[in-house]
């Protein structure tokens, strides 16, 4: 990975460039390059930025920042955990920054949080350099498994999950398989008869084909599929979607939500399922 492609000095200043497809670049001014190393899976950067604080960058794409990472991490966890009335076993696939696991750990009723992340190095540096995101997670219910998520869900095990959270990077590099129908079918097989899963499902502005394809593939596997949205400033176009595939439950229960959070609250849980007309048109739903 050619780091110089996206990190450069201009006089006394350091700038990091994120490339969105070919026609958009976003430049963040950086205070310090905290960490830069190539793992067996990807290039990992921790940058301390002026506007968004410390951020995790994988293969040149921002994954999470101290300033806005909570939006994504709270949305991908509290919404599905609010829909399931009594989750006990939770599986997180990806989520190396540990922010999702940290939110899941806020539920005392949850007994077991399996976290399957392909790249141990991402967990290590997130715990070390992104404490505001990871919370330096040490909850004894969290069970780290460093493995390929798509291989993990192929194995037979003696328990099933209530909720599976797919907190993947974009469908390039190590995450490609996490967007395929076969993987969704494996998730289905790993869920209780009333279980549900959620995944980040990309941007309706920058990756509409991918968003639509995730929705369609989940519809081929799960009887209930629902999309919801949030604004994540450091993701392309801000607009971000999440999609739930569920065997039984589909209604959120906002009144039950009582966690301490920076973004999610009862009203957000209720309102995040309201999709603008152009997104409904993309999905071909009413």
């Amino acid at each position: 990975m050619n780091v110089e492609k996206y990190l450069r000095k201009v006089g006394d200043e350091i700038w990091f460039t994120e490339f969105e497809k070919d026609n958009l670049k976003i430049d963040y001014r950086i205070k310090e390059v905290v960490y830069s190393e190539t793992s067996p899976f990807q290039h990992i950067l921790i940058l301390d930025s002026y506007d968004y604080g410390p951020m995790l960058v994988l293969d040149g794409a921002i994954q999470t920042t101290t300033r806005d990472g909570y939006i994504y991490n709270e949305m991908i966890t509290h919404v599905p955990l609010n829909i399931h009335p009594n989750p006990k076993n939770v599986l997180i696939i990806g989520g190396g920054d540990c922010g999702a696991a940290r939110e899941v750990a806020k539920y005392p009723g949850i007994e077991k949080i399996d976290m399957v992340e392909i790249d141990e190095k991402v967990v290590e540096v997130s715990k070390k350099y992104l404490k505001e995101v990871s919370g330096n997670l040490s909850d004894p219910r969290v069970n780290f498994i460093f493995d390929d998520g798509s291989a993990y869900v192929k194995q037979k095990r003696d328990y099933l999950y209530d909720v599976i959270i797919v907190d993947s990077s974009d469908p390039v590099g190590p995450a490609v398989k996490l967007f395929e129908t076969e993987f969704y079918q494996d998730l289905y097989n790993n869920l209780h008869e009333d279980g549900l899963m959620v995944c980040q499902s990309e941007s309706p502005i920058y990756y509409p084909e991918m968003m639509v394809s995730i929705h369609r593939r989940l519809n081929n596997v799960f009887p209930i599929v629902k999309m919801y949205m949030a604004t994540v400033p450091t993701y392309p176009a801000g607009f971000w979607t999440f999609t739930i595939g569920s065997k039984k439950y589909h209604e959120p229960n906002p009144e039950a939500f009582d966690k301490e959070t920076k973004y999610v609250n009862k009203e957000i849980i209720k309102s995040c399922f309201s999709l603008p007309n152009f997104v409904k048109a993309q999905l071909n739903i009413d």
Copy 2:
């Protein structure tokens, strides 16, 4: 205005840079510079961009684009027009791209749309080069007045407005006065006893002080103040707020909404008032 600061050639490519404060830059690849001229008020650019189509840029800041301009224009008009049960006289201050006027003109019950824009040139080029935003507006109810909005609302006239829409650029350059308490008091004086106004109120990520100050100033003038949100991809951080100051009405009536739109629908009108915790904390509201 030094155009070279934000428009440059790189080999065969043209790139436009938007500077957000000092530590973030967004680069859009451009097909063509359609128009570039300095009016008595500001520098006006029309750029045809790869990702967002033709866009209007004033003093280096993107105001609207063909690809996402409808989000802002629909949100700043349909929400207040849904709260007021029977608007007849509407005033738009700013809104030179004509997109807001175009949305307001979708209401047959509205008899008069006064549009006060300081810079005639912006209206002229928007009608010519941004037809997808402006709709090449020729509704006979629209009455263009090329004047300073803050001076216009100081004049006494023999009618009052039901709804006033302040569609201003950011509080730098010609729009500064449109963010002051005195201006809000003048709006109050120009409204019927059951009238209401709305303004764009900046980003909670990039301009939280300004957002908070607009909210506080409106609270000093209007008995009812309510904020709502939308995601506008080409505005800094995507996250954008609008604030309503009202003399009487405050509840939206989503079921009554029946306009043809690309973003707004009944569910969006209902859900856009749901604010995340960090925004409530900024505003010091529950």
